[in-house]
Structures are given as C-alpha cells and as structure tokens.
C-alpha cells in the first residue's frame, strides 16, 4: 500500500471539504437562478419520498414497539407504567423518528445518488451534459437536494406517527394500558420545543444525505470499482455526519428551551 505524507493527506482533506462546500453552496444558490428543473425535482421527490415509504413505515413501527417494550420494563419497576406513552412520544418525536428515518433514507438514497451520478461520471455522461450546455449541478444536484429536504420533513412526521401507533399497539395489547391514557400522556408530554426539534432535524439531515450522495457521485473516479467505493463512502459519511450533527442540533435546541 502506498504511504501518503501528512502534508499530502492534509491537502487532500482540505480539498475535499472545499469541493463539498462548493457543491453544497451551488445546490442552494441554483434555486434562485434559471433554469429550474421542477419536473426533475418532482421525479426525485417520488423516488426518494414515495420510494422510501415502506422502509420508513416499518422502521418507525418497530422502533415505537421496541421503545414501548423497553420503557414499560423499566417504568414498571417504579410503578409508572402509565407513562409509557410519554416516553415513546418524546423519544420518537425528538430523537428516534428523525435520526432513524434519516439513517434509513441515507442507506437507500445517499447510496443511490452516489452510484447513479458516479456511473454517469465514469461513463463521461456528466461531461457530455456539460458539453451539451447543461449545468449538471442545476440538472442533477439541486433537484435531488430540494426533494430530499422536502420529503425528509414529511417522512419524519409519518415515522413519528407510525412509531407512536406501534408503541400504542404494544401498550394496549401486551401491557394492558388504556387507549385514552396512552394517547393523552403521549400528547400532553410534548412541548413546542420537542416538536420544533423533531421537525428541524430532518431538514438538516435531508441536506446532508443528498449533498453527500451527490458529492461522492460527482467526484467518482476509477470505473465501476470507483462507483462501488463512492456508494459505500456516501452511506458511511452521511450516516456519521447525521449522528454528529444530531448532537450539535440537540444541544442547540435544548439550550433554547
């Protein structure tokens, strides 16, 4: 294996950050300039949003269920089984709904974007697009970023609802908690800060998923092997970045409470 000097490594790392920052900036500024590819954005919204529904619903449902089971196990020791709804609701809305939905969408779509754009890159289709007078950042990147951010917002709401429903099923069927009690504690315990935190996070996470996926796709080198590498890197980088940004956002929102 070839050894890289620390200077070269630092130089390459700065270049990666610079290129990623440029792509992210372009993906946003393109929204304010012509041409706008609305049809491409709608198509991507369908692929990303509707296409991700099954995994988001299943993930939300099972997470809500397992949350109810684990919470009840602990709460029962303190005689507070009735608070299960509260714990499921706060955990789902503040944290698990946005994060798990984002991780699932990252696994599905960040990799998809990296492989699709990566294949286009190595077969010179991106160059062909530029040669034909079309800006690939406008045509390929911006529609993906816009639609991912937009759809992540609604997918997270759906995941939260399905998670609460999953928690309810376990609470009602296995734990014998009253329906009204579950939903009442779940609803009453939520504050505006919880809801805003839970709805703000997917916007950031959606941006991370799409820009990372597009970045690795647009910078793919080395044929089909390179496409595979980009796909893996996109999933790993977006997942880690989602978790890191989650810490920052959580702390920020808690400080505003």
């Amino acid at each position: 294996m070839e050894l890289t000097s620390p200077f070269q490594f630092a130089k390459r790392s700065v270049l990666v950050v610079q290129d990623y920052a440029y792509l992210s900036l372009r993906s946003v500024t393109n929204v304010f300039s012509h041409p706008r590819y609305v049809a491409d954005a709608i198509q991507q919204a369908d692929l990303i949003g509707v296409g991700s529904l099954p995994i988001v619903i299943l993930t939300g449902m099972f997470t809500g269920m397992v949350l109810a089971l684990n919470s009840a196990n602990t709460l029962e020791r303190f005689g507070s089984l009735s608070l299960t709804g509260q714990l499921v609701s706060i955990s789902m809305v503040r944290e698990l709904g946005p994060v798990l939905t984002s991780l699932m969408v990252a696994g599905r779509n960040s990799s998809g974007m990296a492989s699709e754009l990566g294949s286009m890159k190595v077969t010179e289709q991106i160059d062909a697009m530029r040669a034909l007078g079309t800006d690939p950042y406008k045509k390929l990147v911006t529609p993906r970023v816009i639609s991912t951010v937009f759809m992540m917002f609604f997918l997270t709401i759906l995941s939260d609802l399905v998670g609460l429903a999953g928690g309810y099923l376990i609470s009602y069927l296995l734990l014998g908690i009253d329906t009204f009690q579950y939903w009442n504690t779940a609803y009453q315990s939520l504050t505006y800060n919880d809801v805003i935190t839970g709805l703000l996070k997917p916007l950031f996470f959606g941006f991370i998923i799409s820009t990372i996926g597009c970045y690795y796709g647009m910078t793919t080198k080395g044929g089909t092997q390179g496409v595979g590498r980009s796909t893996t890197q996109a999933v790993v980088a977006s997942s880690v970045l989602i978790l890191a940004v989650d810490v920052v956002l959580t702390q920020l929102m808690l400080s505003l409470k």
Partner: protein, 282 residues
C-alpha cells in the same frame, strides 16, 4: 539600476488571434496531472471549414485537447480560442452558450443511458425549450443523417457500439454546430463500421462544411478523410480526383509525449523522415 528602455521598434506586442478565419487556436497550451506532463506548450490553429486529424499513441494527450476546447478541463498555462472566445478565461456559465456552437462525440459515445435515442438526440433542443414539433422534426432529420431513424425509440443499451457512435454524432450535429470534436470515433469498432463512421464524418465535412478536430490513433481513418470526398449525388464517398471543388481541407498533426512533432498535409506526412513518425505510419 534602471532597466534599459525598450524602443518602439524593439517592443512588438503579440498580434491578436485571428478568430475570423480560425475556428480553434491553441496558443502554447500546457497541462499536467500531479507529476505527469500531458501537454507541453502545444500550439496549432484550425481554419474554419478545415478538418484536422490529431494522431498519437494512447496517453499522448489527444482526448484532453478536445475537452479543453470546450472548457471541460482548464489548461495549466496558455490560451485556447474557440470561435473567437478565449475559453481559458471564461467562467462555466459563459461557456454554456459557446458549447451550443460546438459539438463533441465522445470516445465511448457518453449517451445518457436512461434516455431513449430520441431524448438523447433531442437533449439540447429540449433544454433550450424548443417547440415539441420542431424537436421531433430535427431529431428525425439528425437521425436520418446518420441513417438511424428506425432506432429512435430504443435505449442506448439496445444498440451496437457503431450505432451508439452514430447516435453520438446525431446528438452533436442537431444544433448545426460551427465546430465538431471527434474523440476516437472509430475506436474499438470493426473495419466496416469504422468506414461507415468515417463516411459520416466526411459527409458532415463536405455537406455542412463544419470545422473539425478528429482525434484518433487509427491512421487509416485520417488517410481516408484526406483522400476521399463525399458525393451527395450517389450518397457515397469517392476518391479525390484533383478538382478544386473536391478540396477535402484535411490536415494532420502528430503528438508525442505532449508535444506536436508534425503538422501538415497527408502528403507531407507520408514523406516525413522522422523515424518515430515513420514507424507510426508504417
């Protein structure tokens, strides 16, 4: 110490590039990647209506020259003038307009694999929001030119290598560009299909009078272009018979290790003494 004054007779600023008669000008262009020098001070001019065949072994820097013409890759030094514009100083947004006047045929066609032949060929017109009926008519016209109209609804994966190149040519010529850049258009094709592609290039040269840079490592393609003309009456190519009306306006350039080692006509290329070129053309 004050430097000696330059008299008006000594100081001669470089003349502005002749962009009226020249389609493409390379002025002392160099580019390298990491430690490898790909092009080293390359200078040449392509006249309007002329076809220049660029020969050289793999890795000689031929394909990168075409990408630099479109501003897809920027040189490390030097200037490139395309249709009167210095592409080395233009921003990406400014280049998009220029690129609509220059067509390129990529080595592996670079067709959009998720689009049909129709949508591939129509791509630029659709981006420019031309009316649907006009787009359809022009797509069919371009596909008729490359004799591929029946494949209009097929996807690139359903086409042979030669057919994909022809679709690439149709996509490049649909806007009637002033200059065309061919990147190894016959690379990897069988001799019969290669001849078909060369005939199409010849047809574009002689019918549309388009300026063209043709990169190839196949000498026979270049010689066929230099020794034949396209006859629209019989829709076939014929050997040049010396008549002025059959001036094929085709020249050659040979690259070696990033430098131009030969530039001239096909006859001059055949008579050159350089052992490397002699070995290359033998």
């Amino acid at each position: 110490m004050t430097p000696p004054a330059i008299s008006s007779t000594e100081f001669k600023p470089a003349p502005p590039p002749d962009t009226v008669h020249k389609a493409i000008i390379f002025d002392n262009v160099s580019i390298g990647f990491e430690d490898l020098t790909v092009l080293d001070g390359v200078s040449f001019e392509l006249n309007r209506g002329e076809t220049k065949v660029i020969l050289g072994v793999a890795g000689a820097g031929k394909s990168i020259m075409l990408k630099m013409c479109l501003g897809l890759v920027k040189p490390d030094s030097g200037h490139i003038y395309v249709l009167g514009h210095d592409v080395t100083t233009m921003k990406e947004d400014e280049l998009f307009d220029l690129r609509s006047k220059v067509g390129i045929i990529f080595q592996e066609s670079a067709l959009f694999d998720s689009l049909t032949v129709r949508d591939n060929v129509a791509f630029r017109l659709k981006e420019e929001k031309h009316p649907e009926a006009e787009v359809e008519a022009r797509v069919r016209e371009a596909l008729r030119f490359v004799e591929l109209e029946p494949a209009i609804d097929k996807f690139p994966s359903q086409l042979s290598g030669g057919m994909r190149r022809r679709v690439g040519i149709a996509r490049a010529i649909i806007t009637h560009p002033e200059a065309l850049l061919y990147d190894s258009p016959t690379g990897g094709l069988d001799p019969i299909t290669s001849t078909t592609i060369v005939e199409l290039i010849m047809k574009q040269r002689d019918v549309a009078k388009t300026s063209a840079l043709l990169v190839s490592h196949r000498l026979q393609d270049g010689f066929m272009l230099a020794t034949h003309y396209y006859d629209p009456a019989t829709s076939s190519m014929k050997p040049v018979d010396g008549k002025p009306m059959h001036d094929v306006r085709t020249s050659f350039m040979v690259l070696r290790e990033g430098k131009v080692i030969f530039s001239g006509t096909g006859v001059e290329l055949g008579a050159v003494d350089d052992p490397y070129i002699r070995e290359y053309i033998s």
